[in-house]
């Protein structure tokens, strides 16, 4: 056997090991979601989408010939991608296996999300990455900036400069970036973006936003109609489904939730502490934190992460219905209301958190920091101080995609939930859970 053949065999073995481990992890988390009681009717399409990408390791379920455009942040407007006849796919990953491969490529202190992205791209085994005609990387942090350069050596990448402030000049500059993005999309897809196709793009995403806003309204109800982990699965699936299909599936979930509300049927009769999850994104299959919260007797009543509601929460407001007006609306939507810590002054996030706390009757906040995600870590102190004034306890959980810290996290989350329960009026307290 010559050296080349033995290297090929070795590579094949490595690939198989990667595929096996990757699918096992994803399948495990999917199973945990399915086994969690209280899932709403109509959630299956979301599980299917997640399973298709991570367990079956297939590309997006799309008609043949449809192009996909990979995005690494919610600031790349989906409307433009639909207008170019392509389908957006969020490529931020929460996969531990890819993360461990990425550790050999990216620096040790890079955040796990970036390592996972680098790992997937390096293996070349995930169709969802390999199928992309173009990848767009909005530069929101140092790691994303450098990973854009790294990806640029492997595939067609467009870097998008996200300004650190949100003045009128910055909005104008972002508008011109969106025009450049439109040009790049036209080149990648071979389709022209016209007024009509852009309006269609708005309609597609608008439908999803409308359903999402109804979903959020139903989710707010107290006692709860749906668990936070199921909500996270739904929100994560949005990354791998065309907006209209996702909206139609969400519509079915909303119908079932309305039915539950009418029948007074809630996911639990107990008064569980309502937790808000904020900080670094929680990306499938790394759902260990929401699952731990709900296993420990809390409920994720709201999440402020960018893989959650933030991605589609704010609709674009068109004040001028020309083509330029629509592009301007996208730029405004991407920058002005965004509570991403990429902005130097991110007081917006504090207002948003306070609003979420009030709307969802939040009793405690879990602040998730992915190891190496400095921008979120910087904002923790101020948020802790401000929420302390409101009497809301906050806990900072630092983690990565590794599963070895699960027990440690479990103890901390359990203690936090106990603390919230002790602060509740005695008649509202529930028994401590001992078995799951």
């Amino acid at each position: 056997m010559n050296i080349q053949t033995s290297q090929m065999l070795r590579q094949e073995r490595q690939n198989k090991r990667f595929t096996d481990k990757q699918t096992q992890t994803a399948a495990k988390y999917l199973r945990r979601l399915i086994e969690l009681p209280g899932e709403p009717e109509g959630i299956e399409p979301f599980y299917y989408a997640l399973g298709r990408i991570y367990v079956k390791m297939q590309g997006l379920d799309l008609p043949q010939g449809t192009k996909t455009v990979g995005t690494y942040c919610v600031m790349a407007p989906q409307e433009l991608i639909y207008a170019a006849g392509a389908v957006p796919v969020k490529l931020c990953s929460g996969n531990y296996t890819a993360f461990s491969i990425g550790e050999d490529i990216a620096p040790r202190d890079a955040c796990p999300l970036v390592k996972a992205v680098a790992g997937f791209k390096q293996t070349g085994l995930m169709p969802v990455y390999e199928d992309c005609s173009l990848m767009v990387v909005p530069v929101t942090c140092d790691c994303k900036k450098k990973v854009a350069g790294m990806l640029g050596e492997m595939c067609d990448v467009m870097t998008m400069h996200v300004p650190a402030t949100r003045g009128d000049d910055e909005i104008d500059e972002f508008v011109s970036q969106l025009y450049t993005f439109a040009e790049r999309l036209e080149q990648a897809t071979g389709n022209r973006i016209t007024y009509k196709t852009l309006a269609d793009g708005f309609a597609k995403v608008g439908y999803a936003q409308r359903e999402l806003s109804e979903f959020i309204r139903l989710k707010k109800q107290n006692p709860y109609l749906i668990r936070g982990s199921h909500t996270m699965a739904i929100m994560n699936a949005a990354a791998y489904m065309p907006a209209d299909r996702w909206a139609a599936a969400l519509n079915r979930v909303n119908v079932s939730l309305r039915r539950r509300a009418a029948a007074g049927q809630t996911v639990t009769t107990k008064k569980l502490p309502r937790i808000l999850l904020t900080g670094s994104p929680i990306v499938f299959p790394n759902l260990k934190i929401p699952l731990l919260i709900e296993e420990m007797g809390g409920i994720v009543a709201a999440d402020e992460t960018c893989m959650g509601e933030r991605g589609m929460y704010d609709p674009p407001v068109i004040t001028d219905d020309s083509f330029d007006g629509m592009i301007r609306a996208l730029a405004n939507r991407s920058l002005r209301p965004c509570p991403c810590p990429t902005f130097a002054d991110n007081s917006q996030r504090l207002y948003r958190l306070k609003q979420l706390i009030a709307d969802n009757h939040i009793q405690g906040v879990i602040y998730h920091v992915l190891r190496g995600c400095l921008v979120y870590d910087f904002e923790y102190k101020r948020i802790e101080e401000e929420l302390g004034k409101l009497g809301i306890p906050v806990i900072r959980l630092e983690s990565d995609y590794n599963e070895e810290d699960v027990e440690q996290l479990r103890i901390r989350i359990e203690a936090f939930i106990e603390l919230i329960k002790l602060r509740q009026a005695p008649e509202k307290r529930t028994e401590v859970r001992t078995a799951f």
């Binding site: 202190d109 530069v139 650190a164 002054d345």
Partner: protein
């Protein structure tokens, strides 16, 4: 209550002592190693006056620049002498420890520490110019704003080939000039811009001459002293006097070179690059010397900036044109890791490598400055093409890892010596 106040006082004193002993130690060592060079004393005094708390109290800087990425010509033209905060002090970290997260890089922490230092310069009326070159800088800018300080943020477009990038940078430079001009009450004129460009260019030319003349002559001036002299530009409050003194130092070194034309070079020559080494934390250059290596060149953002000398073709045109040109030149040659691809640094390093006298590279990464780590791979490819070994050295401003670093550097030094012997054997 009294006890509490006493505790606070003793903690402030402790921090001040660490800070003071750090810069005094560095200055003493530099002086001790280069005692025969009387001309060096001016630069040591400059650093002492900048660092000393008592002297600092008299400083009331109008424009404070964080980092070295801003073209100072524009600030000088607007009537302010820039006061640079470039970090570098382990002692100053103590004043920012409670404000920033644990993983923040030491440069940013040190800069913030200088600002929050209780007995440092008086920044109450200062305008802070903050280039948002990293995540930490972005958040420090906000922290300063929360503290009620006046700030001007400069966002750095990360992709130089983006058609709007230069325009965005130029617009921000103009806003910055307007803000400085409002603060100083000095109107920006064409003559002021021209004069500033000429003064800065003269300084850079003097620095270039100094670095060329002293290159490879560690028997006359040590590598750390060369680095220190280059860095003292950011500590002076009078660049004309600094330039004049540097010219005198260069002259002296030149004469010494003439007197001792042959220098025995038994130390392997290395390039020191990556995270910038900033006064007073000189543990890396000191260690390099102690382990038998010689730093031939330095390659970082500041070194690239110092190499930018404006030609006479830049001195023509209107005031607006001059400002635009200065902004463009500074942006297109900025070698900070704030870019997707740091081409400026790559070009600079490629040119250094092509000289053919670099035997090894010490790639310095400060903990938390992850961008340098990302860039390493590309540089490794470049160096491997020339057969130059690269040594990655990760550290922070603490002095506890010195012995560990020494062992690693000694091993690298031995390897380079061995490589040299092998080359000689091959030649024979």
């Amino acid at each position: 209550m009294r006890k509490e106040i006493a505790n606070i006082h003793s903690s402030v004193q402790r921090k001040a002592v660490t800070y003071q002993s750090e810069y005094i130690d560095t200055l003493n060592r530099l002086l001790g190693e280069n005692e025969h060079l009387g001309e060096l004393k001016f630069f040591l005094d400059t650093a002492y006056l900048w660092s000393n708390e008592k002297a600092k109290n008299h400083h009331k800087p109008e424009a404070v620049i964080l980092g070295t990425g801003i073209p100072e010509e524009l600030v000088i033209a607007a009537g302010a002498q820039p006061y640079w905060l470039t970090g570098g002090s382990f002692g100053s970290l103590a004043w920012s420890d409670d404000i920033v997260p644990r993983d923040t890089d030491p440069v940013s922490r040190s800069i913030l520490g200088y600002i929050c230092q209780p007995c440092g310069a008086d920044f109450s009326d200062s305008l802070f110019i903050v280039p948002l070159s990293s995540d930490a800088m972005r958040k420090i800018a906000f922290e300063l704003k929360v503290q009620g300080r006046s700030i001007v943020t400069i966002d750095i477009p990360p992709q130089r080939d983006d058609k709007n990038a230069k325009v965005i940078w130029q617009r921000q430079m103009q806003s910055m000039m307007r803000a400085v001009s409002q603060r100083t009450g000095v109107r920006v004129t064409r003559r002021a811009v021209l004069s500033a460009v000429q003064r800065v260019s003269r300084s850079r030319k003097a620095l270039k001459d100094f670095l060329d003349v002293s290159r490879g002559r560690s028997d006359i001036i040590t590598d750390s002293a060369r680095l220190f002299v280059a860095g003292s530009y950011y500590l002076t409050d009078n660049i004309d006097s600094w330039t004049f003194r540097l010219q005198a130092l260069t002259q002296r070194i030149y004469h010494l070179r003439m007197q001792m034309p042959f220098a025995r070079n038994d130390r392997p020559c290395v390039l020191l690059m990556g995270s910038p080494v900033v006064f007073p934390n000189y543990k890396i250059p000191f260690l390099i010397r102690e382990t038998g290596l010689e730093v031939l060149d330095f390659a970082d953002q500041t070194a690239v900036k110092n190499s930018l000398i404006c030609g006479t073709d830049m001195f023509i045109g209107s005031k607006a044109r001059l400002i635009k040109t200065i902004s463009s030149v500074s942006y297109m040659n900025d070698a900070s890791p704030a870019f997707v691809n740091n081409l400026s640094l790559y070009r600079y390093v490629s040119a250094l490598v092509q000289r053919g006298d670099i035997e090894g590279v010490v790639y310095h990464v400060l903990k938390g400055q992850i961008e340098y780590d990302f860039e390493l791979e590309r540089f490794e490819r470049l160096f491997s093409a020339y057969g130059i070994p690269v040594f990655r050295l990760e550290t922070d401003y603490q002095y506890q890892d010195v012995e560990q670093l020494r062992i690693r550097l000694e091993a690298f030094s031995e390897m380079l010596v061995h490589n040299r012997c092998r080359e000689v054997k091959k030649a024979l």
